[in-house]
Amino acid sequence: MTGSEVAAVGVVTGWGQSAVALPPDAVRAAAGRRVIAVEPPRAAGERFRRATRECLLGVAAVEALLREASLGPEAIRGDETALVYVTAAAYGSSNRAFIQAIASSTLHFPYTAPSAVPAEVAIEFGLTGPYVILIGGAAATIDGLWQATLLLRRGQCRRALVLAVETFAECEDLWARGRWLVRPPLVESAACALVVPGPWRATYAPAPAPSPLEALARARAGETLACAPLIALALARAAGDAGPVMLTGEWRGRRAGLAWEAH
């Protein structure tokens, strides 16, 4: 089988746990707030004492996925699970902390790398399979979902996690300067999709216009950058739509599309 499908999506946002927590209208629900911060996830013990908030959010998204799929962590452990991580901004807070010497200790520096988030996720869940990290907003997540389908087709993994994390609170002033990049409310989010072999053929191409799912995710969740396509998938699934799906995502003028269609 060379097709694929999304088996489950875990979502954590500033609006709460899962896609069900999303308001009908994010702009109205924000009531003028520029950033909707996510509650700090529970710090899971000594191993995470140095982990940044974005690392903890990444772990929380995978935990949410496992709950959604009714799977235990052993179901994803090992070298047959690929990890594709995407973010536009979740390195900003750790970079800022290091630059401004809020956290300039020896051990903080490795956490400034975007690879820190998937590293903590990989350590926590024992993921040792193929690995891709893409930087960008929703268009990069479409690229990442497509990469996941390729890894499956090439037989390099049996399943792939596509993880996105976005945080804004620590760099709210900087995002206010780059107003043309984002439209408030900026909603902190982490989301993870489990992509497995399935009946649908994935077609990847530039997209001329937003899909209905892209528009829905924007309206319900607000600005979630790289998390948006995964939230769109979660919304589709919550609506009982696990069949053919057309996803699009835009970032800085580039819109990519991925269609899961019948063979």
Binding site: F98, T112, S115, A119
Partner: protein
């Protein structure tokens, strides 16, 4: 797991900017054993334990410039375009770049009091790739990969995927990173930088030094390359360690897995590998683990394959490193010479492979293996085939 056959992808041409210079100077510097490490002059380093690095001293700045990272990319692109043309429709030409640091120096400036929106936007890690795509007029996919110091390998793999999937006809792919206070402070704090010279696989090795650069290759589907090529990417793979945020897995399991998968994708075995370009950072841990992994994966063949690290000459150029090393592999095939490992004088008994030392070696590798490791347990392997003259 059933594997889908993957077609090779042509590497048509290369362009670089390094502390040694463009592609020609890079190659001649490697074969003459030039040490490009110097005192860093572009920003203050007096407060750091180590102020040395592979700094590019002269860089042509464009008036409509952008950040230093973009300037490095523009210089490498000029070198590339002097050797090859982007002869495809702009929407069919993509850019895929790897970086460990993106535009972080712009973030430093933004936080130091420059309130401009342009500066802030340039701090995003995908800014330089977008700037290069704009400058080249490429309107195809523009992707930024950030698998830390393996980024320059992962980017070539992602570019190959895009070509095989017909998402583009040409891809300008590669990696870059600059020396800046941010990264020097970080590695200085980690005590990873040596006060000695960089000595990959040497028993006296005591750490790495950083360098800066940009390395680009023009990639096309092999069937479209019409004979003009420097070589081919036969296989690539990545694998995570899942063990530590900054240190490699003690057994090198992720690296071993990446090498095995890349060789399988390339449909070559250990006996086919003629040359290994090692990550070879000269940290005590990396070089020992990498040696052990190569012996485990390649078996008895490992000791018979010439191997080098170019980080003794350039420093560790982070996001650029793996692409520079891939280019070096292809130039070695073309020129019939394997550059030696600058700084390696007294081999570590635990590092007992056939490192090329002291002088370049006459050899014309057909198939090369290039390995890369990065923070966060990122490991990558490329299998390349050179086009001998």
């Amino acid at each position: 797991m059933a594997r889908l056959r993957t077609e090779p992808v042509a590497i048509v041409a290369a362009g670089v900017v390094t502390p040694l210079g463009d592609v020609d100077a890079f190659w001649s510097g490697l074969v003459t054993g030039t040490d490009a490490i110097s005192r860093i002059e572009r920003f203050p380093v007096d407060d750091l334990r180590v102020g040395l690095g592979g700094e590019i001293k002269k860089l042509k700045r464009e008036r409509r410039g952008g950040c230093r990272a973009s300037q490095l990319l523009f210089a490498a692109a000029d070198d590339l375009l002097a050797r090859a043309h982007l002869d495809a429709a702009p929407p069919r030409v993509g850019v895929v770049l790897g970086t460990a640091l993106g535009g972080v120096e712009e973030g430093e400036k933004a936080l130091a009091g420059d309130p401009s929106a342009r500066r802030t936007a340039a701090a995003l890690y995908d800014g330089p790739a977008r700037a290069l795509a704009r400058r080249l007029g490429c309107r195809g996919p523009a992707l930024t990969v950030s698998t830390a110091c393996a980024s320059g390998a992962t980017s070539l793999g992602v570019a190959a995927d895009l070509l095989r999937a017909d998402a583009a006809d040409l891809i300008v792919a590669g990696g870059y990173d600059i020396l800046c206070r941010f990264v020097m402070r970080g590695f200085d704090a980690l005590r990873s930088l040596t006060r000695d010279r960089v000595r990959p696989f040497d028993r006296r090795r005591s750490g790495l030094l950083l360098g800066e650069g940009a390395a680009l290759v023009l990639m096309a589907r092999d069937r479209d390359a019409r004979g003009r090529r420097l070589g081919r990417l036969l296989g690539h793979a990545s694998a995570g360690d899942g063990t530590h945020i900054a240190a490699p897995d003690p057994e090198g399991r992720g690296l071993a897995s990446a090498i095995r998968i890349a060789l399988a994708e390339a449909e070559v075995g250990p006996d086919d590998v003629d040359f290994v370009s090692a990550h070879g950072t000269a940290t005590p841990l990396n070089d020992r683990i990498e040696t052990a992994v190569l012996k485990r994966v390649l078996g008895a063949r490992a000791g018979l394959i010439p191997m080098n690290s170019i980080k003794g000459a350039l420093g560790h150029t982070m996001g650029a490193a793996a692409t520079l090393e891939a280019i070096m592999c292809l130039l070695a095939s073309r020129e019939g010479v394997v550059p030696h490992t600058v700084g390696l004088e007294e081999r570590d008994p635990e590092c007992d492979l056939d490192y090329v030392t002291t002088a370049p070696r006459a050899a014309r590798p057909r198939v090369s293996l290039s390995t890369s490791l990065g923070f966060g347990g990122c490991n990558a392997a490329l299998v390349l085939e050179g086009d001998a003259r």
